[in-house]
């Protein structure tokens, strides 16, 4: 509780300064940054007409779907790359080249392959999530202390048993870090993902509000994405705390 209060001090100070600079003195004109009260009004409107909730839910669905598919692909592949030097060497350049490409650059292909709509959005989020999970998993597997795998072998474990019972648990902290970073980047891709054929979602909300010069509503959408991110971060930190060995 104490920590929560401490963590709220700075945001509160920023809120006060923001209010002073906009509402109370007008030093910053409202077309540059809307005042806190304008954002609050926009928030109330979006909440009351229900669109904030449906947008949040549809973004959450897309992000979770993209993220889960990314995890299902990246964790086994990461284990393979971390374990097999051959697999690692063979795929080094492919991953190295694909990874830096911004997911937004894939939009034309997303549309061609998955059409306009949900499939494309999930694909874009998948692209954002998949590499951090892959890289962290592979790294965790590679870093597994040799003494654990050697212990397993001298106790009679097969290679597969060693992977399952030793390497994966040893790499778990890295895998969780990868998931945490992966979902964060997935969330960062929502605006790009919802540029294609979506008619709801927080990214869509931000895009439409921006095009109508309704910056207060855009800030509501931005903050909602931020709060979702905070929630996931909390969940993953809880998971990390569980493995405090």
């Amino acid at each position: 509780m104490n920590k929560t209060i401490k963590a709220l001090i700075l945001p509160l100070i920023i809120l006060i300064i923001w209010a002073i600079l906009t509402t109370y003195t007008g030093i910053i004109p409202s077309y540059l940054i809307p005042s806190p009260s304008a954002v609050w009004v926009a928030f109330e409107n979006l909440l009351l007409n229900g669109s904030l909730i449906t947008d949040t839910l549809s973004t959450l669905t897309r992000v979770l779907l993209g993220f889960i598919i990314a995890a299902l692909v990246a964790i086994p592949l990461g284990i393979l790359l971390g374990w097999s030097k051959n697999a690692n060497d063979l795929s080094k350049y492919i991953i190295g080249v694909l990874r830096p490409i911004p997911p937004i650059a894939w939009i034309p292909f997303a549309i061609l392959w998955f059409g306009v709509g949900l499939g494309s959005a999930i694909f874009i989020i998948f692209l954002g999530s998949v590499f951090p999970i892959l890289i962290n998993t592979a790294d965790g597997v590679k870093r597994t202390d040799k003494i654990y795998t050697e212990s397993a072998y001298t106790l009679g474990a097969s290679e597969f048993q060693t992977l399952k019972k030793v390497v994966v648990p040893a790499a778990l902290p890295n895998i969780i870090t990868g998931l945490k970073v992966g979902i964060g980047i997935g969330l960062m891709c929502t605006v790009a993902a919802e540029m294609i054929g979506s008619s709801n979602g927080l990214g869509y909300l931000i895009l439409t509000a921006t095009s109508m010069l309704d910056s207060a509503s855009a800030i509501v959408g931005m903050l909602a994405i931020g709060v979702i991110g905070l929630g996931f971060d909390y969940l993953f930190r809880r998971a990390e705390m569980k493995i405090n060995w």
């Binding site: 050697e150 212990s151 001298t154 106790l155 009679g156 474990a157 097969s158 019972k165 648990p169 778990l172």
Partner: protein, 246 residues
């Protein structure tokens, strides 16, 4: 289980240079023998033990087990590492039950077996602790229990009692002698503690400073459990110690 090391050399390439670690090692270990390797730090004791386990390979020469060349690790050769090697994500009980678990022994049986060894190493009450909750000596006792619980034909032990106080160390030494007598395991035991080697082994092999070569072997015929205060015991210790101090 018998072992033969024939003209074994081992070098490592480190920073582009070849480092000769052990040289011209010839040892023949009989089935059921208790052999101890002593020698100064860095003389290659761990390296020899790892090659016997199949975790490393000789650069020259051959190592065989029951006449077959050693090609990799096997559950028949239990290993107790010099460093901490417990799985940190497993409880004491699940660490000790690991070997039987991968062999497919059912939960009830392998836990019962693990509990027996927990009691033997004096750690009752710590079944559900994780390694990070144990002291150094306690971790080492769990590692010994883990190797024993897998019931290997031979045990390769790398300074397993180094982190223990004298009382516990003496108790476990006696326990090990008892297990060895009852279960007819072949044991190769590395230590830098001459007293320990003389107390435990049928034969003590003394290695020189790096690169390790065999200086001498001492056959020890004293009756077990050995009396540390007997003149023969003290004499043997003196002889071996003076060799090591050269």
């Amino acid at each position: 289980m018998s072992f033969i090391l024939k003209n074994v050399d081992k070098s490592f390439i480190s920073q582009g240079k070849e480092l000769e670690v052990v040289k011209n090692i010839n040892i023949s270990v009989q089935d059921g023998e208790f052999l101890s390797l002593v020698g100064p730090s860095g003389c290659g004791k761990t390296t020899i033990l790892r090659m016997l386990a199949g975790l490393d390979y000789p650069s020259e020469g051959e190592i065989s087990e029951n006449g077959e060349p050693v090609t990799g690790p096997s559950p028949n050769r239990g290993f107790v590492f010099q460093q901490y090697s417990l799985f940190p994500w497993r409880t004491v009980l699940d660490n000790i039950a690991f070997g039987p678990e991968v062999r497919g022994v059912d939960t009830e049986d392998r836990y019962q077996n693990a509990r027996n060894y927990i009691e033997m190493v004096g750690l009752s009450g710590f079944e559900n602790s994780h390694p990070h909750e144990l002291s150094g000596g306690m971790k080492q006792r769990v590692a010994i229990a883990r190797a024993l619980a897998n019931d290997p034909l031979s045990l390769l032990m790398d300074e397993p009692f180094a982190a223990l106080d004298v009382m516990t160390r003496h108790k476990l030494q006696e326990e090990l002698v008892r297990i060895w007598q009852e279960e007819h395991k072949t044991i190769i035991f590395v230590t830098h503690n001459v007293d320990e080697a003389v107390f435990l082994a049928d034969r003590v092999v003394v290695l020189s400073k790096s690169p390790g070569e065999i200086i001498e072997s001492f056959q020890i015929e004293l009756e077990r459990i050995r009396d540390r205060t007997s003149p023969e015991f003290i004499d043997l210790k003196k002889n071996i110690t003076s060799l090591l101090e050269k």
